[in-house]
């Protein structure tokens, strides 16, 4: 897998996730963004330049500026959005958030923090296989 993005404002989470991804040696490039707006703008640029999107994005919900949902909604406007797989990764225990994810069809891609290594590896492997196949 070439590229995985982390859209996450919490530095500890970015640190932990980055560590696991590096450990797996399955991802070539890892980028992180502090909020949804920054991530979107980066994607927008890529889209305009005709560059490929990352294969996988771990998306936090509660973030300043643009939250996860703002990002996700905007993403739907971008051409090439099909090429990216979004995983919600949140510390929220709110039913409300889960219901929202469901509405976006993300209920199977809804993860709660914290993730252990095993979980991260499984997700990367599955996604890699998916794309390879």
């Amino acid at each position: 897998m070439k590229e995985v993005w982390l859209v996450e404002d919490d530095k500890v989470q970015v640190f932990l996730l980055r560590k696991y991804l590096e450990k797996s040696k399955l991802v070539d490039n890892i980028c992180s963004f502090e909020n949804g707006k920054l991530a979107y703008e980066a994607l927008e640029k890529r889209s305009a330049a005709g560059e490929p999107f990352p294969e996988l994005i771990f998306l936090d919900i509660n973030m300043p500026v643009w939250d996860g949902w703002d990002f996700y909604r905007s993403l739907q406007e971008l051409p090439g959005k099909e090429t990216v797989v979004i995983f919600i990764l949140t510390s929220s225990l709110s039913e409300h958030d889960y219901e929202q994810a469901k509405r976006f069809g993300l209920n199977d891609n809804y993860l709660r923090k914290p993730l252990n290594y095993q979980a991260v590896e499984t997700i990367i492997k599955q996604k890699g296989n998916l794309q390879a196949g």
Binding site: S92, L93, Y117
Partner: protein, 981 residues
Amino acid sequence: MEKKPSELIFNHSRDLFCIAGFDGFFKTLNPSWSRTLGWTLEELLSRPWNEFVHPDDIDRTENVKSEIVDGKEVYSFDNRYRCKDGSYKWLEWSSYPYPEDGIMFAVARDVTKRRDDEEKIRQSEQQFKSLFEDAPVSMMVLDKDTGEIVEANEKACELYGINSPVELKKIHIFTDEPPYSEKDALRWLQKAVEEGKQEIEWKSTIGSGIEKWQIVTLKPINFKGLERVLAVAVDITARKNAEKQFHILVNNSYDLIWMLRADGVFTYASPSWKSIFGYEPDEVINKPMEAFIHPDDLSICTDYIEEVLEAKKITIGPQYRVKHGQGSWRWHEVTMTPVYNSRGEFEYFVGVSRDITEKKDAENTLLDNQSKLKHSHQMMQYVVENSNGAIAILDSDLHFKYVSERFLSEYDVKAKEIIGRHHYDVFPDLPQKWRDVHQRVLKGEILKKDEDRYVKADGNVDWTRWECRPWYNERNEIAGIILYTEVITKFKKSELELKKLSLAVEQSPASILITNTEGVIEYVNPKFTELTGYTRDEAIGNNPSMLKSGTQSAEFYKVMWETITAGKVWRGELHNRKKNGEYYWEDATISPVFNSAGEIINFLAVKEDVTEKKKAETKLMESELYHRSLVQTIPDMIFVVSKDGTFLDYKSSFGHELYNKPAEFLNKKLTDMLPPDVAEKQMDAIQKSLATKSTIEFDYSLTVEGSDHFYNAKTTGFGEDRVITTVRDITDYQKNLEKIKTLLKVEEQLSENLQNFTHIVSHNLRIHTANMMGILMMLEETDPELYKNQFIQMLAGSSENLEETIRDLNEILNIKQGTRKDFEDLVVQQSINKIEEYIVPDPKKEGVEIINEVPAGLTVYAVPGYLNSVLMNLISNGVKYRSNERKSWIRISVAKCGDYVAIKVKDNGVGIDLARHRDKLFEMYRKFHDSDSKGFGLFITKVQVEAMGGYIEADSEPGKGSTFTVYIPNGKNERSMVGRG
């Protein structure tokens, strides 16, 4: 000087010693002589002894003396000696002669007493013998032990048909004859000996072999020195036979035989009473004769008794009526004899009575026949003349011999014109039909028609009944014909009427009953039967009082009876009772029915069951009362207002200050009484409610005593041109509403705060715990050695606890926010099994038995996540707080409880002191045990149960265990989550 023994005996013996000379003089005498006879010895010695001997005994004495003189010893010779007082004494002698000295030695003994006794016995035996032998009754002497005959007299021989008394000897007087056995006989003998007398009735066949009945009297006697029993037998065979004959007679008699006391009470009744008269004799005995005799005949019977008592002999009695055992009255004829006892006192009557009903009937018939005969001619004449029909008698040539008056008038002819003339001459136009009829009748046929329709010349229809039959002379030949014709048009019409009427009566929806003038029911229609349950047969012959409920007074019935017997119609309501005991009301009209003579012949009652009507009336009354009291209870003011806005009626309010006295509104226009805006609103409401036939509601306000009052008015159309307006003072409500609005605002604010709090918990707090846990997780993976460090472990524990707390808190918030959850049918047993599986590996669970008593198929309509969580919580609580003092168990059972399904989780654990904790049991952050609980469990459980529309109850006792019962609403009712976000 000593005396010799012989001398002593001589002097003192009671015997008389003597030496006497053959010369007839005593020579020596001992003193006993003087003591016995009273003479001095000198007196006795001085005279020849013969002078002392009884003159009757001198010859015998001389003879004995001669024998002694001849040298013979004489013993046991008796003679009598005269005493000085003139009496005699018997002496028994023993003498020894001494011929050589010319003397004899003799000893005498005084035997007077013995001789007297002997004489007495002899005389007595003589008497008994003659008595026994010659007695006019049969006598026998019996062995007291065996009953054998020892002696018998002539009469006894006669009784038993035997020639000589000797033949009777050794025979048992008591032969074994039923009904008594020889054993009985021996017992009687013994009893006779013991008690001195015994009398028995006995049948024997001894001797001749003929049955002989006897009364035997047994008496103990001394017979010839032996204890015997004397039997005196009286032959009662003849009496017995007579009795037997009497019994046969009585038992087989066609007469009634009876005994009657002077007071008219029966003491005996023959068995023939049963066969002839229908009474068991026992039913008659001890009953007075009044019980049987017809009341009208009682006096002649008592007169008859007097008569018999006076006549003192058999007297033929009267004829009278008696009630047969089957209930019918029979004529009896009686003969009675008075019976007197031996003292001539009256004892009882013996009577014989005989059923003569048939004889009497026959007599009556005979009488009837005679009188009938006498009147028959007269009657025939009468019948013929008064018959509704016209009668004509014709001879075999069809010449008129006789015509009735009716015939003459009917056919408008005169007797002298037609008698002797030919029928067809008189009526030449007679149709062929009739001519044929005449010919057939002359050949012996009887022709008739009950209803013959024919159209008259004027076109009207007449109905006739006619009959034509031959009549015979004494030689039994047809001598002519008899014609009978009757116009029955009127009758026919009334019959049709009657048919209609009776059909109407039969099918009448009213129950109809007809009684005779005494009130005995003669007719009831089917409706009567249907209503009362009494069949026609049960009713007819009975009295209408059979229906009386007993709730109406005797006076009531009296008035009714008086009305109808006075010939007037009675109308009223009767409260009656059916056969099955059910009460009912009927509206009755009872009318007398008169005959043509104006006499009442029947009463006709037409009655209608008005029970339902009555009930409805009562109900209506009750309902009216109910509504009235309901209206009175309503605190609202109620006005009735006409279409044009005039107040018609009102009901006042209470507890409120009033704008005006409601009475003031009456008959006034509301535009005059109320402010224009209110009046306008009300007028609008009146029109709308009448037009739409619905309730129109509006609010308005009035100033009452300086302050604003708010009202709510509801107007409903009532008929075509009126409305009812209900006015409620809602001033207080309005004021409260303001308060509530304020409160709601506060509530909203609080709610918003809660939302914010939720957000904080769910996101901001959670971020940090998630981070802490993430870091620790990574540490465990990358540096397991460091992770095991005591401080790190403590940190890990704390973060886990914090995480758990936040999760619980979040769970509660999720429920409270009312996030919609889906209900589904949940198989409770399976849920519990899953929980058990989950808990089983838990080492803490060890030793706790989970008893799942929930039926396999039972489902509850619930939110699976919640219910599972609830059960999980309760069961794991049971495990957690088990008692170490006993074998632990948790029992889960289900019961239906009204609209709820109650799931009961019961354990025998340490329990909770509910007296102290009940209020706080289900509150947040409550801990009741010194354990690792954070006190969320029961709070979450409660919240979840309530979210499903249910509730939870706890029951516990420290040291005994706890029971939690979760009530989940039964069935898939419209139900949504209960939440107060």
